[in-house]
């Protein structure tokens, strides 16, 4: 008889863990819990809902007992057995006990309501990035948001700094290679404090043969500047939108990175014109830079030589700039991609090497086996 009651209890416990029970009961709770708050006074509707809950549980339990063939007698005996009063079964039976215990029912419903509210808050947060102001009265929430905002700002600053430093390093390499240094390289980028192309523009004043390049580079600079000013700016206005979706931020930077490349499409056009015209303009440029007002031909030999050198340097620089742009064109996407792109190639090579080794080993094995078989 004891075994019998144990089977009955186990069967019911199993039922209470099954979807046939859990789904309708949870469904009911989720639908009805919204009126349950944690005020001390109970609303009259609580009783009505409790009554409905009783009916639901009754219906479910009865139909299950009928289906499985547990008689009421068996159920009574099973439930009065000590086995049914164990801790684990007690928690499992809680939703059933709640039919008889209003206080328990109430606390289950209040708990469910709080759960759903938290869930809703989470959903709102995920959808809008941030909670509407009316829902954030806690300082914690705000400081959390601010922290995230700061993290993104720092990330943006870090990236732009890295870009800038990379560019500066390239510049320095140039200058060392050429051997001549001009103060404006160090000054201007610092003053502008912006992207990598700033120095390029600085060396090329307007109204010469290179106005095209100049135009594109300044366009670049403008866009780069826009990017940097809009990103922190927009974080201030709609902090969540960016803070919650780093991917979106990523796409935002994309056009900015790509833009200069597109701009440089106009590059080849001046290249054709350049040949003679440009050579003169290099000299002109160098002359202006040196602060010499006389035309080139009227200068002394030493001065002419100096200017030639300078013109040569400028030409080199322009070529390098174009080469760099070509490079960028080849890898037009975000800054992260060039980092990620190179890795796969060696990886595949490694794999192929490994595979080759494996294949060799297999061949070796096969040959050995062959030999052994043949010998036998």
């Amino acid at each position: 008889m004891a075994e019998d009651s144990e089977w009955v209890v186990e069967s019911i416990a199993g039922y209470l863990g099954s979807p046939e029970w859990v789904i309708p009961v949870t469904d009911f709770m989720e639908h009805k819990c919204s009126v349950f708050d944690d005020e001390e006074e109970n609303k009259l509707t609580y009783t009505e809902i409790h009554q409905q809950y009783k009916q639901l549980v009754e219906k479910l339990l009865e139909s299950y007992m009928q289906e499985v063939g547990i008689s009421e007698q068996q159920f009574v005996e099973a439930c009065s057995s000590p086995f049914a009063k164990s801790k684990t079964l007690q928690t499992l039976f809680q939703p059933v006990l709640a039919t008889d215990d209003f206080q328990m029912f109430r606390s289950l419903m209040v708990q469910k309501n709080v759960e759903l509210q938290l869930q809703a808050l989470r959903v709102i947060k995920e959808r809008n990035g941030a909670l509407p102001e009316c829902l954030t009265d806690g300082v914690d929430v705000m400081s959390e948001l601010e922290q995230r905002e700061m993290q993104i700002l720092q990330e943006v600053l870090k990236r732009s700094k890295e870009e800038y430093e990379l560019e500066m390093a390239r510049r320095e390499q140039f200058e060392e290679a050429v051997g001549s240094t001009s103060a404006c390289f160090h000054e201007r980028p610092l003053r502008n404090g912006i992207g990598p192309q700033a120095p390029a523009r600085a060396t090329v004043p307007p109204s010469n043969g290179l106005s095209n390049i100049n135009g594109t580079s300044s366009k670049k600079e403008g866009k780069a500047g826009d990017l940097k000013s809009t990103v922190p700016g927009s974080t201030e206005q709609t902090p969540g939108k960016i803070s919650d979706k780093p991917s979106e931020k990523g796409t935002k930077t994309l056009p900015a990175v790509r833009a200069p490349v597109k701009g440089s499409a106009s590059q080849p056009v001046p290249k054709e014109k350049i040949s003679n015209q440009a050579a003169e303009s290099w000299l002109e440029e160098a002359r202006k830079e040196a602060g010499i007002s006389k035309p080139f031909k009227e200068l002394s030999v030493a001065q002419q030589e100096q200017l030639q050198q300078r013109a040569e340097y400028l030409r080199q620089q322009r070529d390098k700039l174009q080469a760099m742009k070509k490079e960028q064109k080849a890898k037009p996407v975000s800054a992260e991609e060039p980092l990620a792109a190179p890795t796969p190639t060696p990886a595949t090579q490694e794999i192929s090497v490994e595979e080759k080794k494996k294949l060799q080993k297999r061949k070796h094995l096969a040959e050995k086996l062959k030999e052994e078989v043949i010998k036998k």
Binding site: T47, E48, E72, S80, Q90, L97, T99, D100, Q103
Partner: protein
């Protein structure tokens, strides 16, 4: 069907595993009679911040080793129709009267007699608190008992107790009656 239900839920009651016996007490009466104040007094809570009850309150009080679950349901006219939903399985009815509100003695008497006739309260003992005895205009409990025709109740035990829920005076006497007449019998 009805029998099956009763069986199921009596079993569920057993499932609770509490060895402690419980009493279900319903606390009723007209609005402003002092039901919630009495409830809070029973639970030894602050009685100074009580507002009219729109729904109901529940408190559990231990009395002589027995758990008393006291249900205090709002007494406003529009709520009274809901009273009967709370009467099932009730072990004791506590009815509270504002002893100083003579104008509504008739009204409160009518409500009480309706309750007494309720099927669910058949044979259920009644404790009547003649509340607000701290007010100078309060009628004595004996007078109220007479007005309510309590002496005609033959089918149940009853008691009327003068008290002041605000000061707590007389409340304990009422509880003693409960423990002597109901709790001890249930055990």
């Amino acid at each position: 069907m009805g029998e099956v239900q009763k069986g199921l839920f009596s079993v569920i009651e057993k499932l609770k595993g509490t060895t402690e016996q419980e009493l279900r007490i319903v606390l009723l009466g007209l609005d402003n009679a002092g039901k919630t104040t009495l409830l809070k007094q029973l639970a030894s809570e602050d009685v100074n911040t009580i507002t009219p009850t729109q729904g109901f309150n529940i408190k559990s009080v231990t009395c002589h080793g027995m758990k008393l679950n006291v249900w205090d349901i709002g007494g406003q006219r529009k709520i009274r129709p809901f009273w009967k939903k709370y009467l099932e399985n009730t072990d004791l009815l506590i009815y509270v009267i504002d002893s100083a509100d003579k104008k509504r003695f008739e009204e409160t008497g009518l409500e009480l007699s309706e309750l007494i006739d309720e099927e669910n309260l058949k044979g259920v003992p009644v404790l009547i608190f003649a509340n607000k005895q701290d007010l100078a205009t309060a009628s004595p409990a004996s007078e109220i008992a007479e007005g309510l025709n309590l002496h005609t109740y033959r089918d149940r035990e009853w008691q009327i107790q003068a008290c002041s829920a605000v000061s707590g005076e007389g409340v304990q006497d009422g509880m003693n009656w409960i423990s002597n007449n109901i709790v001890n019998k249930k055990k």
